[in-house]
Amino acid sequence: MTRFTKYHLVLVGIAVLLLLMSLVRVASGQNDITSSGTFAAALLLAVPIGLAGLGGLWAERAGVVNIGLEGMMVLGTWFAGWAGYQWGAVAALIAGLLGGALGGLIHAVATVTFGVDHIISGVAINLLGPGVTRFLSEVLYKEGTPAADAGAGITTSPAITGKTWEPSLPLLSDGPDLLGKLESTHWFLLSDLAGILGGLTRNVNILVVLAVLLLPLTFFVLWRTAFGLRLRSVGENPWAAESLGVNVYLIKYIAVVISGAFAGLGGVFLVFVSTKYVEGQTAGRGFIGLAAMIFGNWRPGGLAAGASLFGYADGLQLRSSGAVTSFFLFGAVLLLAYLIIRARRMLAPDQPAELAARSPKDYTLMAAAAAGMVVLFWLWVTVDQLPNEFVFITPHVLTLLVLLVASQRLRMPKADGVRYRRGEQH
């Protein structure tokens, strides 16, 4: 029953969002707001974040906080690059997975076996990841090595060999490219939809498909299988799980190693995009992935939304600094909607009691919302080019704003971050 309504709520939310985006696009003339290019970029940028977030999800559902995702991702990139240039894309994929899993294993040993604080162990892994990979590069890629002859440098691996497959949807986003045609008409709503669909279906890297599929797969495994039930129970109450014969240590180990592997996969993806390992290419995505996961309330769907939001904002700012100013308009419209809802509820004639129960806080809130709306609108009208620095931070600011609104509804696994020892009860 609740599932049902929640599901509908999500659909309605998406529809309203689409409508708003379309409105803002038409009003501002910034076609990039819903262009296929923006959505393709969003997908490209969201996938590594999403994969890191999935890594976080697996670990934290089993009760282990994984702030070391960044370091595991770095390991993933390096090993993918190293294997990829020698044995091709599949080897890169496997090596990256294993590299990340190795980081996860270290984290598991520290946190599960030795009971080290999870944050602490994660920080150490974030220190180790770049250190180890730099060291490996210095040793294996130095002048005179075969790798260096193949194009490696201390900061980059040689390019990985072999091509990855980038399929498109036949007819719709390929060949006749019906969606592309529709998009270029710039009709209200229809073109927006076409742009979004086109962006998400055209020349999609096979790894993207894989990554996106991992979301429902994760949901299925964690919420529909016996193993998933055990994993979640370990994150909620490991003592209960233990008392029913669940091997808590083993499950935590598996979860954290898988977590590392997912982070590593995120690294592999980055390597595939740039066709080689580039030192520093993860650029904090592990952290952002963690944020996306928390943002998504420790659920795959929410995590996807968080990663998408971040990827979208980043893609938009990279493609069009001008379109970013439309967020002002977007914010103004949202605040207006909020005000209308509040005002209607206040003025509803059949609710005198509610009228009496209005507090000054409500008024301040509404006044602030109104003022914010005016300011945002004014900004949208007057500013046509933000300083680049303000454009760059768009995704981060948006994430903060959404968290401010939604944070109180979040519920993390109860035993997340708790040090569990067999036989010792809380």
């Binding site: 979640r232 909620e236 109450n237 233990e242 029913l244 014969g245 669940v246």
Partner: protein, 545 residues
């Protein structure tokens, strides 16, 4: 998959020839510095309820954990149904048909009842969790044993009674033939206890064996067929039910000395109001301040009219100097909320006055400073810094008062000296005041808390389950301290699940039910059973005090 339970197969006539369900031989278990179990011998006959009693820390839970494979014995052998076993994990114990309901609930709150029950023994179909089969089996089990639960509810939405049933279902679901229940009644009211015992008798009739642990000796006498007494880790007596004449006899075996009981003495109640609570109301979905110009009463009216769930619903009472007001109620009916509202930990509507002072807008700190003491219901959660020394625990809650405070500094010397005083006056068994709190046993931790909360001459004390999980010796000491303070004019709000304690100590008893005070009773002529009736809502109305 666990073996399906073979109900009724082992009938009474096979009993005589059957091997003992459980034989524990010479079990010894040492923890660093403690011998929890020493050469324990117990034989449990199949199809019986076998009670194990012993004071706190006697080693009961440890023994049961050994039997359940959660801990390994250092010495000794375990035989189940005549064959020797060596468990490495609980799964080994589960495999031979042992199930355990733990002293503290072992449930994952954010999972459904069904998920909690099937965890570790999940029915699978094509790699997926087969919820349909599980639901069917749980419903069957629940019906055949009278354990009503909704399999699809989240455990966090359940009350204690329901949770206890889920725990038992967990065990039955695995087809256990030997049930271990470690203090299952601690959180239940008499009616629920009776219901549980009914279930146990039924299980026994089906041939299951039950090992039952409790501090409540009358319950033990009510249900047990055989009783083993453990003292300081060793078995001191193994008796059949008919060998035991009275609870007192058992208790003396347990502690090796006379048994204290809480008894009211002459009333010390004065006519000076120490604490007054008026129309205290708390919303379930978060506190919102009452709008300006609206009175609390009309606001609360509106909340009720709107159908909002209230955790506290118009609670009003007075406590006088020298009076102990007992609050009786099944756990989860607003007791925690009430004390947290009085302490200022959770916001609520309504008035709270200490003496003449309205303190309802004060911070917790200010309330404490003005003379409210607080013995929390969960000492590990709210009462102690386990990894800090005793003297630091003495400072806790008194950071802003003498002797702990000296300007912006913590006065370490004075705090230590005063901790020494508490250790002495309250008989806290500890090597010294620099010892970490976690090294103390539960009873000694509790005595420290009581001593701390009594220091600085409080005017009013909240005592929530002051003797929960504390052995009889410490219990008597704590009661004495409460009575003495009461005689000196202290007002006490006593909350306890131990109805004997409540009746014995209180000058007045109020019953809380669904956030409301539903009855005011005179402890001098109320039995635990009648009190239970009020607490469960079975009896309505107010008796004259």
């Amino acid at each position: 998959m666990p073996p399906p339970s073979r109900r009724g197969e082992m009938s009474a006539d096979t009993l005589a020839t059957a091997k003992p369900a459980v034989e524990l031989e010479g079990i010894t278990k040492r923890f660093p510095g403690v011998v929890a179990n020493h050469d324990i011998r117990i034989t449990v006959e199949p199809g019986t309820v076998h009670a194990i009693v012993g004071e706190n820390g006697a080693g009961k839970s440890t023994l049961m954990k050994i039997l359940y494979g959660m801990q390994k014995p250092d010495e000794g052998t375990i035989k189940v149904n005549g064959t020797e076993v060596a468990f490495r994990t609980p799964s080994d114990a589960i495999a031979v048909g042992i199930g355990m309901v733990h002293q503290h609930f072992m449930l994952a709150d954010n999972l459904t009842v069904l998920e909690n029950i099937v965890l570790g023994a999940e029915p699978k179909k094509g790699g997926m969790l087969d919820t349909a089969t599980a639901r069917k089996r749980i419903t069957e089990l629940a019906e055949s044993h009278g354990l009503r639960v909704d399999p699809d509810k989240l455990v966090e939405d359940l009350g204690v009674g329901d949770r206890q049933r889920v725990e038992i279902l967990k065990v039955l679901y695995r087809g256990a033939r030997i049930l271990i229940l470690d203090e299952p009644t601690a959180v239940l009211v008499p009616q629920e206890v009776e219901e549980l015992f009914q279930n146990l008798r039924e299980l026994k009739a089906e041939g299951l064996t039950v090992i039952f642990i409790s501090h409540k000796l009358d319950e033990v006498l009510d249900i047990a067929d055989a009783i083993t007494v453990i003292r300081r880790g060793t078995t001191v007596a193994s008796l059949a039910r008919n060998e035991v004449t009275s609870a007192r006899q058992l208790a003396e075996l347990m502690v090796g000395s006379e048994l204290p009981t809480p008894e009211t003495r002459e009333s010390t109640v004065t006519d000076r109001v120490a604490l007054q609570v008026a129309h205290l109301t708390m919303e379930a979905d978060g506190y919102r301040p009452v709008p300006k110009g609206t009175s609390v009463e009309t606001y609360v009216e509106k909340l009720r009219a709107d159908g909002k769930r209230l955790l506290l619903d118009d609670v009003s009472f007075e406590i006088h100097e020298g009076e102990i007001l007992g609050i009786a109620g099944v756990e989860g009916n607003g007791q925690s909320e009430l004390i947290e509202a009085i302490m200022g930990i959770r916001a609520a509507h309504g008035g709270i006055a200490l003496g003449e002072q309205d303190i309802s807008t004060w911070s917790t700190l200010k309330r404490r400073e003005s003379g409210i003491g607080y013995i929390p219901e969960d000492r590990h959660r709210q009462g102690l810094l386990l990894e800090a020394s005793l003297w630091e625990n003495r400072v806790l809650g008194h950071q802003t008062r003498k002797p702990a405070r000296n300007g912006i500094w913590v006065d370490r010397r004075a705090a230590k000296a005063d901790t020494e005083r508490i250790v002495k006056d309250y008989d806290v068994r500890t090597p010294g005041v620099d010892t970490l709190a976690l090294a103390l046993s539960g009873g000694n931790q509790q005595k420290l808390i009581v001593g701390r909360e009594m220091s600085g001459a409080p005017k009013f004390l909240i005592a929530a389950h002051p003797t929960r999980g504390v052995d009889v010796g410490a219990q008597a000491a704590i009661w004495d301290h409460l009575r003495n303070a009461r005689a000196a004019g202290l007002a006490v709000l006593l909350i306890s699940a131990d109805l004997d304690e409540l009746i014995g100590l209180s000058d007045t008893i109020q019953v809380i039910y669904r956030g409301r005070l539903v009855a005011a009773l005179d402890p001098s002529d109320i039995t635990p059973e009648r009190l239970g009736g009020y607490m469960t809502g079975a009896i309505a109305g107010t008796e004259e005090t």
